[in-house]
C-alpha cells in the first residue's frame, strides 16, 4: 500500500493565523479518513511571499518556492485555505496559484476553505475560490469550509457547526483520494510527440 501525501497551502498573513489553524484542522480531519502514516506537508505562503513576487517578475521560482510547488503538484490531495480580502481570496493566495503551470493541478483532489471576519462573506468560497480551482482543472470536493471569527468560540466542542463541517470536508477529500491511484507528477517530456508524427498530422 502506498502512503498518501496531502499538501496544505495556507495564505494567512498574520502569525499566528486563524487561516493556518483552520488548515491544520482540515489536514487532521482528512488524515483521519486515510491510512495511518499519511504525510501532511504544510506550505505557509507568507514565508514564500517575496519568492512568489520574484517568480511573477522573473518567470522562475527560487529553490524554496520550487520545493513548495513540487510538494503541491506531486501531492495526492490539496487543502487550500485563504483569508478573505475585499470579498475574495487574498493576493498572495492567487499569486501562488498564478505561478504554477496552467495544468499543474489538473485532476487534483482539493479541499477549499477560507477565514473571514463574519459569516456574511462565506459565499466567496463558491463565487471566487471554487471557480479558480475549476479553472485550474482541480477537483474540489463539494464541501467548502468557511470559518468566521465567531465560529472559533465553540470550535473545540464536539458537535459545533464548524467542527462538523471540517470533519465532513476532510472525509470527502479522504474518500476521493482513496479512490485514486497515487499521484505522479506531470512530465512534459513523457508527452512530447515525435516530430515525424507532427509533420504527418499537419
Amino acid at each position: 500500500m502506498t502512503l498518501r501525501t496531502i499538501a496544505v497551502v495556507s495564505a494567512g498573513l498574520s502569525q499566528p493565523s486563524s487561516t493556518r489553524l483552520l488548515a491544520d484542522q482540515l489536514a487532521a480531519a482528512t488524515a483521519r479518513g486515510l491510512p495511518a502514516g499519511t504525510r501532511i506537508e504544510a506550505i505557509e505562503l507568507r514565508e514564500l511571499a517575496h519568492d512568489i513576487v520574484n517568480n511573477l517578475l522573473t518567470g522562475f521560482p527560487s529553490p524554496a518556492l520550487r520545493r513548495a510547488i513540487e510538494q503541491v503538484t506531486s501531492a495526492d490531495g490539496l487543502i487550500a485555505v485563504t483569508p478573505l480580502y475585499s470579498g475574495s481570496y487574498n493576493g498572495l493566495f492567487k499569486s501562488f496559484f498564478d505561478v504554477l503551470d496552467p495544468d499543474a493541478l489538473a485532476g487534483k483532489p482539493a479541499l477549499i476553505a477560507a477565514t473571514g471576519g463574519t459569516a456574511r462573506h462565506s459565499l466567496a468560497l463558491e463565487h471566487a475560490i471554487r471557480p479558480l480551482f475549476s479553472y485550474l482543472h482541480a477537483v474540489p470536493v463539494p464541501t467548502a469550509v468557511f470559518a468566521a471569527t465567531q465560529d472559533w468560540g465553540s470550535a473545540g466542542s464536539s458537535g459545533s457547526a464548524l467542527t462538523a463541517r471540517i470533519e465532513r470536508a476532510g472525509a470527502e477529500l479522504a474518500a476521493v483520494i482513496e479512490q485514486r491511484q497515487p499521484a505522479a507528477g506531470a512530465d512534459p517530456y513523457a508527452s512530447a510527440i515525435p516530430l515525424g508524427q507532427l509533420l504527418r498530422d499537419r
Binding site: N54, L195, R202
Partner: protein
C-alpha cells in the same frame, strides 16, 4: 568551441543618469559592439529580432549585412529569428543573400517569440506557435535543399515550382540553431533535423535546462545523427566584470536593480546564485562558465549578453575588452577537455567539407553499385 555575444537590442535608459540613447544611437552602438567583438577575438555576434518598442532590431539581415562588410572573421547570427511570424520563404531568401555577402559567415537561431501581439500584427495566432514553428521550418529546410519546391501547408499560401534564390552558398545552407527556454517540442525539432539546440539559460536556474538539453541530446541520437554527446549545443551567459569583484558589483547593481526582465525582483545576490549571471572579476567569470560544461556536457557555442539594461556603450566596450581576456582561457580549457569525437562549433567551411565528404562517400557507393551491377 565558439564564443560570442548576443544582443536583445533594447533601448533602455541608463538608470544612473536617466538618459536613454536614441534609436539611431542604439543601432550605431550595436554595430560598434559587433566590430569590437571581432577586434577582441570573439567568434560570433548575434542580434535579436523584435517588432515593438523599446527594441530596435526589426530587420536583422540589414544590420548583419552592414556588419559583415566591416568585419573579416566574425560569424553573424541571430537570437532569435522569428520562425512563427516571418514568412519562411523570406527567411530562406534573406539569409541566403546574407550568406553570400558575408562569405558564409552566417548562421541563425530560430525562436517562436513570446510577445503576444506580434502574432496578430503579422497575421498569426500565438496559440498555434509550436505548429507554426514546425511547419514553417519544415518548408525553410526544404527551400534551402531542393532547387524546386512544391508546397502546401496550413499556414502559408501554396507554392508551385518555386525556387528560392539565391541558392545557398556552395550548396550548403546556413547552420540552424533552435532556441527554447521551456518547450521539449523545440528540442525534439532540433534533434529531428540534426540541427543545433541553444538553451538560453541566462534568466532561469540551471536544473531546468539540464533536463531540456539532455532530452535534445537523447533525441539527436535517436534520429541517427550521432551519439548524444555529439549533438550541437549552445548556451547563454551574462557577465559584468571589473578587475576587482567589489567594483563590479557596485557598478552593476543599479543596472541590475532596474533592468528589464528581472529588475525590481530578486536581489543581485539571489540572482547570481540562482542563474548563470556572474558579476565579479574575470577569474570568477572563468570559474562560473567552466561549470556550464559540468552541467551540460561538452558544448559548441557560448554566447554572452553584455549590452542590455541601459549600460552605456563605453562600458560595454570595456566589458568586451575584459571578455577578450577571459575567452582565450575558456577556449583553451574547454577545447582541451572536449574529446576529438565531439564536433567543434559549426562553420561554413566545416559544413562544406562535410558536404563534400558526404558526396564523396555517396559517389563511391554509387560507383561500387555500378561496378557490381
Amino acid at each position: 568551441m565558439q564564443f560570442g555575444i548576443f544582443t536583445v537590442g533594447d533601448v533602455t535608459p541608463d538608470p544612473t543618469t536617466g538618459q536613454a540613447p536614441t534609436e539611431h544611437e542604439r543601432i550605431k552602438a550595436m554595430v560598434a559592439i559587433a566590430r569590437k567583438a571581432e577586434e577582441v577575438g570573439l567568434d560570433v555576434f548575434a542580434s535579436g529580432e523584435h517588432h515593438n518598442p523599446p527594441f530596435v532590431p526589426s530587420s536583422p539581415t540589414t544590420m548583419l549585412g552592414y556588419i559583415a562588410a566591416q568585419t573579416e572573421k566574425l560569424i553573424l547570427s541571430t537570437s532569435t529569428t522569428l520562425i512563427t511570424t516571418n514568412d519562411p520563404v523570406k527567411i530562406a531568401e534573406d539569409y541566403a543573400m546574407l550568406q553570400h555577402l558575408a562569405g558564409g559567415r552566417v548562421d541563425l537561431m530560430l525562436g517562436r517569440g513570446n510577445m503576444g501581439p506580434v502574432y496578430p500584427w503579422f497575421g498569426q495566432d500565438i496559440a498555434t506557435g509550436i505548429e507554426l514553428a514546425i511547419e514553417n521550418y519544415h518548408l525553410l529546410h526544404r527551400l534551402w535543399r531542393e532547387d524546386v519546391v512544391d508546397w502546401e501547408g496550413k499556414f502559408r499560401t501554396p507554392l508551385q515550382g518555386f525556387t528560392s534564390t539565391p541558392r545557398p552558398l556552395d550548396g550548403v545552407p546556413p547552420f540552424v540553431w533552435h532556441g527554447s527556454i521551456r518547450s521539449p517540442q523545440i528540442a525534439e525539432q532540433a534533434a529531428y533535423y540534426g540541427d543545433g539546440f541553444f538553451a538560453n539559460h541566462i534568466f532561469w536556474p540551471t536544473e531546468h535546462f539540464v533536463r531540456l538539453v539532455g532530452y535534445y541530446r537523447q533525441r539527436f541520437a535517436h534520429y541517427g545523427h550521432g551519439a548524444p554527446e555529439q549533438a550541437i549545443v549552445g548556451l547563454g551567459g551574462q557577465v559584468f566584470m571589473r578587475r576587482n569583484s567589489q567594483d563590479a558589483v557596485r557598478e552593476f547593481r543599479p543596472f541590475f536593480d532596474n533592468a528589464p526582465v528581472y529588475g525590481h525582483g530578486p536581489s543581485l545576490e539571489e540572482f547570481t546564485s540562482q542563474t548563470p549571471l556572474t558579476v565579479g572579476s574575470p577569474q570568477q567569470v572563468i570559474d562560473k562558465t567552466l561549470t556550464f560544461r559540468e552541467h551540460f556536457g561538452d558544448y559548441q557555442r557560448q554566447l554572452f549578453l553584455m549590452d542590455h539594461a541601459g549600460l552605456p556603450l563605453k562600458t560595454v566596450l570595456e566589458q568586451l575588452d575584459l571578455l577578450g581576456e577571459v575567452v582565450p582561457v575558456l577556449r583553451r580549457e574547454l577545447d582541451a577537455l572536449r574529446p576529438a569525437t565531439v564536433p567543434d562549433g559549426p562553420t561554413h567551411e566545416a559544413l562544406v567539407a562535410a558536404s563534400l565528404a558526404g558526396a564523396g562517400t555517396q559517389r563511391e557507393t554509387d560507383e561500387l553499385e555500378t561496378s557490381t551491377s
